[in-house]
């Protein structure tokens, strides 16, 4: 695929239906003035059928975002503002998850939004059989009819088969399954009610690389068959570049760049994104020096002023210490309508000069004057 093709793919002419719109979402850990601001004004949109990757270093708020968007945040996490609006791409039902009452929320969970968690080992209740755990999730969302249990069981068998687990494993306890099988069971469980959104929080972290590949391939194959949207959370940017349609890069509880994965890989606009790309070997093409990002992620209790990345940023200028950039259009404005970045270099009014070469790559190869 050439760069031109990639740019064309990034701005598709077809209409994109948003299924999940996260607006201005903020999360604190703690209740008083010492609270840690784990998320600040996060905006993110997931479109129907899309795979949205969420990447960043450990502690940048990726998982917090997933938990907050589903209202599963454990105490002392508190959602301090914003909205998370679900709109079904199938029949248009939905609403703001953060304003639903408990009954509405319970009905919405799993039917519309399912989650596969990080810990494949601990996601299953050790004292119930796999079958029972598949069935109770299905039954919680079905009317109580006489043969509901029978149907749920049949569905559970179907699901196991779908993820390639022998049917007789339905009666197994989690400790009798391998790590990979358990994660497959979790994926089967997530798909039980054919949800429109599946959030995957580092689903392959606890598995070895071979198993990782199998699981990821299976997820993508099931996605093509069943047509759900995916939010895929990982710190593994190279994995996202392969499977995500769009990637949002997070830093210190904020989204700093949001673009198609092809664009992120070939034409990063934020210095942090560029740094991430330099911290693993290139997927294709000639080898280059691995650079990494100097320094370490900021302490969320004691964040720097202005742009949170400026102490580690090779391109920082004076204004970066004062102004915290908002997520907005790139320096190339209308030429990249689908891209967003939070970096003052993209603000012509304050930027000291033209955008640095590395952050200003254009598909045609031209650069802004």
């Amino acid at each position: 695929m050439t760069l031109l093709d990639a740019a064309a793919a990034a701005t598709p002419p077809r209409e994109r239906k948003p299924v999940l719109e996260i607006r201005d979402l903020s999360v604190d850990y703690g209740y008083d003035q010492n609270a840690v601001h784990a998320l600040q004004g996060v905006d993110l949109t997931l479109h129907a059928g899309e795979v949205l990757g969420l990447a960043g270093e450990s502690g940048c708020g990726k998982s917090t975002l997933a938990y907050a968007a589903t209202r599963l945040l454990p105490p002392p996490g508190v959602i301090t503002g914003g909205s998370v609006t679900f709109t079904s791409a199938r029949d248009g039902h939905g609403g703001d998850l953060l304003r639903m009452n408990d009954a509405e929320l319970r009905a919405q969970r799993w039917r519309d939004t399912a989650i596969v968690f990080q810990g494949a080992m601990n996601s299953l209740n050790p004292v119930y059989t796999v079958g029972r755990q598949l069935v109770d999730g299905i039954l919680a969302h079905k009317p109580r009819t006489r043969d509901a249990r029978e149907q749920a069981r049949a569905r559970a068998l179907e699901l196991l088969e779908m993820v390639g687990i022998p049917k007789d494993r339905l009666g197994s306890y989690p400790h009798q399954l391998s790590g990979g099988m358990r994660q497959r069971v979790m994926i089967a469980m997530a798909l039980a009610l054919e949800p429109e959104i599946v959030i995957m929080d580092e689903p392959t972290t606890a598995l070895d690389v071979v198993m990782q590949r199998q699981i990821v391939e299976q997820i993508m194959q099931l996605k093509d068959e069943l047509g759900f949207s995916v939010i895929f959370i990982t710190h593994d940017v190279s994995l996202l570049l392969e499977l995500a349609d769009r990637i949002a890069i997070m830093y210190a509880g904020r989204i700093v760049e949001d673009a198609s994965s092809e664009e992120v890989y070939k034409m990063p606009r934020h210095p942090y994104t560029a740094g991430l790309l330099h911290s693993f070997p290139p997927l294709r093409g000639p080898k280059r020096d691995l650079a990494g990002i100097p320094g370490s992620p900021p302490d969320l209790v004691n964040l720097p002023t202005g742009c949170k990345f400026h102490p580690r940023c090779p391109y920082a200028f004076d204004e970066c210490k004062l102004t915290d950039p908002a997520l907005g259009p790139t320096r190339f404005g209308a030429a990249e309508p689908e891209r967003q970045v939070a970096c003052l270099l993209n603000d012509e009014r304050v930027a000291p000069g033209p955008i640095p070469l590395e952050l200003g790559v254009r598909p045609e190869g031209d650069r802004i004057a």
Binding site: P76, R106, R109, S123, Y128
Partner: protein, 326 residues
């Protein structure tokens, strides 16, 4: 199945060892029952009387320890524990069968009640951690820290002496004959309320605390979050996922306390002069009544073993991970 057989064999061997120890320990104690009677009568017994006492208790024949041991075992299988010295000539089995039901009912019911109430309260407190409910914890701690005999004495002085609504001692009204009449059962229940309450109060706090702490630990497990994410009802998540796993450590503690129902009630029964097995044991020890002591020790040992076995099997039923295969 293999697991079951292995456990049963283990318990049979343990029971044999316990019974054997039970045979030897009293015989290693200094003195004998005739000596204690002589002391009791402060030298006012003639040598003939002493000799006839030895014959009476069967202590005159110088039989070997091994013969005694074999006799002891054959007696056990016939339910014959010998004849009590203090309640002479009542057989030990009869003394025990008269006192055991009192202990089993009183302490059994209050132990089970304490466990159930405490565990349920612990589930609730653990589930709603960080709310006003946490304020109950110091209260629970306070009651669990009070020595039991003192709690019992306070209860008697408050509710039997200062405000005389409950009887201070005994298991039933003095004039009644133990039978299954409504009068007798009513009287027995009335006498049991105060000791039962003190047992529940002193034991409940422990269950609350351990269950609450396990609930807090288990609530942060991923599978509880998954259950929430699945949209299961609050009750299902709380009991089926959180409490179901949190209760496992409490189960073994509970089974142990069941085993101590028979043996650990000495203080309760002394404070309330309750006609149970603890009170009988106390009397047997103070009068060196070997057969009765042995009989009671045996019952205590066996009940601890049975309780352990029940705990093992309950654990195997509740936690599939402990069912070792192969």
């Amino acid at each position: 199945m293999k697991f079951l057989i292995r456990r049963v064999i283990f318990y049979v061997i343990t029971a044999w060892a316990a019974v054997t120890l039970n045979f030897f320990i009293p015989r290693l104690l200094p003195g004998d029952p005739v000596q204690s009677l002589i002391n009791k009568y402060q030298g006012r017994l003639s040598t003939d009387a002493i000799q006839s006492l030895y014959v009476l208790f069967g202590l005159d024949e110088k039989s070997s320890l091994w013969d005694d041991y074999v006799k002891y075992w054959t007696g056990l299988f016939k339910g014959d524990f010998g004849i009590s010295f203090t309640y002479f000539p009542t057989p030990v089995s009869e003394v025990i069968s008269q006192s055991l039901p009192w202990t089993l009912l009183l302490v059994g019911i209050s132990t089970v009640l304490g466990f159930i109430l405490g565990t349920l309260a612990g589930v609730g407190l653990g589930w709603r951690r960080g709310t006003w409910a946490d304020g109950l914890l110091p209260v629970a701690n306070f009651f669990s820290a009070i020595p039991y005999f003192w709690l019992g004495l306070i209860a008697i002085s408050l509710f039997a002496v200062i405000i005389p609504i409950f009887p201070a001692s005994g298991g039933y009204e003095g004039g009644l004959i133990p039978d299954f009449s409504a009068d007798f059962i009513g009287s027995a229940i009335y006498h049991g309320i105060l000791p039962a309450l003190t047992i529940v109060i002193s034991s409940i706090a422990g269950w609350i605390l351990s269950m609450r702490n396990m609930m807090v630990t288990v609530s942060s497990e991923d599978y509880v979050t998954v259950a929430q994410a699945k949209g299961l009802s609050e009750r299902k998540v709380m009991f089926g996922y959180a409490a179901r796993n949190a209760v496992l450590p409490s189960i073994s503690g509970f089974a142990l306390s069941l085993g101590f129902i028979v043996g650990g009630t000495l203080v309760t029964e002394m404070v309330f002069s309750y006609p149970g097995i603890g009170f009988t044991l106390f009397q047997a020890i103070s009068s060196k009544d070997y057969p009765l002591m042995q009989g009671i020790f045996l019952i205590i040992t066996l009940s601890v073993l049975v309780a352990n076995m029940v705990a093992d099997f309950a654990y195997a039923v509740l936690d599939p991970r402990t069912r070792q295969e192969g």
